[in-house]
Structures are given as C-alpha cells and as structure tokens.
C-alpha cells in the first residue's frame, strides 16, 4: 500500500495503490492527515484506481478523513473505486455522505 500526494491550488489529490486493510491503512493515514492539516485544502480527492483490495478499514480511512476535512471546512471526493471496494463503501452508506464514484467501465 502506498499513497502519492499531489498538491494543487486548494486541492489535495491522493493516489492510493495496493491493498487497504487494517495493517496498511494505519501506515498511510498520518501522511494524508499531515497534508490536510498543513494545507487546509477545499477539496480532498482520494483516487482508488490502483487499489487492488479493500476491506472495512477503507471505510474507517474515508470516514476519518471526511471528519478531518469538515474541521477545515473542506469536502472529500472518492474516485475510481473497483466494484468490490464500491460494494464495501455502499454497505457503510458512505455514498450518502459525499461523492463516492466507481471506476468507469470501458
């Protein structure tokens, strides 16, 4: 699991890759939170295109960042979820909470 963070004006994009579970989520959380706290972006985008597996730790990861973004008056968007990861997000009702988008089928 890795997270590549890209800074744009008022926006932070995080490209997540690999497997998101309890083990890996704890490793990448801190770097994303640091970026939010220092930059106060209006929008945080979590890009899941390169995520190959996700369990409910992914829900905790998104929910935790959602709460933090609220404290800096920002929004969160989750992009390019695989069908499996999207199924886990929907189970948690996260699609009601913000912008949660599946990978477009080509």
């Amino acid at each position: 699991m890795s997270a590549k963070i890209e800074y744009k004006p008022k926006e932070i994009r995080v490209y997540l890759s690999g497997e998101i579970d309890h083990h890996s989520a704890s490793l990448i959380r801190a770097s994303i939170d640091d970026a939010i706290i220092h930059k106060h972006p209006a929008l945080l985008v979590l890009d899941f295109s390169a995520v190959t597996f996700m369990d409910s730790s992914g829900i905790g990861l998104v929910m935790g960042r959602y709460k933090l973004m609220k404290t800096v008056q920002g929004r969160i968007r989750v992009e390019n979820l695989s069908p499996g990861a999207y199924k886990v997000m929907v189970l948690a009702g996260l699609e009601k909470l913000g912008e949660i988008k599946q990978k477009e089928v080509v």
Partner: protein
C-alpha cells in the same frame, strides 16, 4: 455432506499477516472455480475476521490464529477462524453494525461485511477462552 479438500493454517496474530491469510484462503479455494466477485467477497470476509482476532481477540498482543478452510462436495466453502484471545462477552452487541470498541478509525462494520458477503456467519465465543467465527458460502462461479 463430505469434505473433499481441507486446509489448516496457524499463524501469528500480526497485522502484516492479514494480507497473507487472504491470499492463502483465496488460492486454496481457486479449485472451486469462483468468479471474481465471489473471490473478492471471501477475501474481504476473511480479512475482517482475521483483523478482529488481531485487534480485539489478542488486543495487538501476539497469539495464534487458527484458520480451517473446508471445501464440500456441493461447492460449499466453510471457513473457520479461531483465536484464543479475550473472547466476546456480548456477541449480539459485538455484531451490531457500527458498534466498535476500537476507536475512531474502525468503522464497526466487520461483522456486517462478513454477513453481507457470505451466506452464513456463526460466532461462538467465551470470555478469556477465545472466539471462533465460522462462515459459509456456496460458489456458483460462472453459472451466476
């Protein structure tokens, strides 16, 4: 119903083994010819149960996790994940969606994921003795 193939696996309750346990179970059941969705469902359910054993059963201390995967004649897979950790006093409460004792970053949806991704989930637990989660799923593969 007869068991036609079985795997027993014992591993340390270290979080780094979460990925290994998913891959081990999914490789073993590959012979039942599951489709991608079934395989993802099983990997996710195993990940939740193993994480529970690590986070709750052993409270991040190191113990052993015992995994048994049985494949039955009719393509039903049974996965048993057992720990000898602290156990659960109130199983009903523990299985409630969003209930967690592990703080903010855990969503409290482990059992909800297991129940929604598998056909059957049973939990047996006794305080100070440990917890056994037994899950079953029928593999339909391409027939679905």
């Amino acid at each position: 119903m007869d068991i036609i193939n079985e795997l027993k696996l014992t591993m340390d309750s270290r979080s780094i083994n979460e990925g290994f346990s998913r891959v081990a179970v999914s490789s073993f059941i590959a012979c039942t010819d599951p489709n991608i969705e079934e395989l993802t469902d099983i990997k996710t359910a195993v990940s939740e149960a193993v994480t529970n054993a690590i986070v709750h059963g052993y409270k991040e201390k190191c113990g052993k996790i015992y995994i048994t995967v049985s494949i039955f004649e009719n393509n039903i897979i049974r996965i048993k994940i057992r720990d000898k950790g602290v156990g659960i006093a109130d199983i009903e409460k523990a299985m409630e969606p969003l209930y967690t004792t592990a703080g903010e970053e855990r969503a409290g949806l482990g059992f909800a994921v297991m129940e929604s991704f598998m056909d059957k989930v049973r939990v047996a637990s006794k305080p100070d003795t440990g917890t056994t989660v037994t899950m079953e799923k029928r593999i339909w593969g391409k027939r679905l």
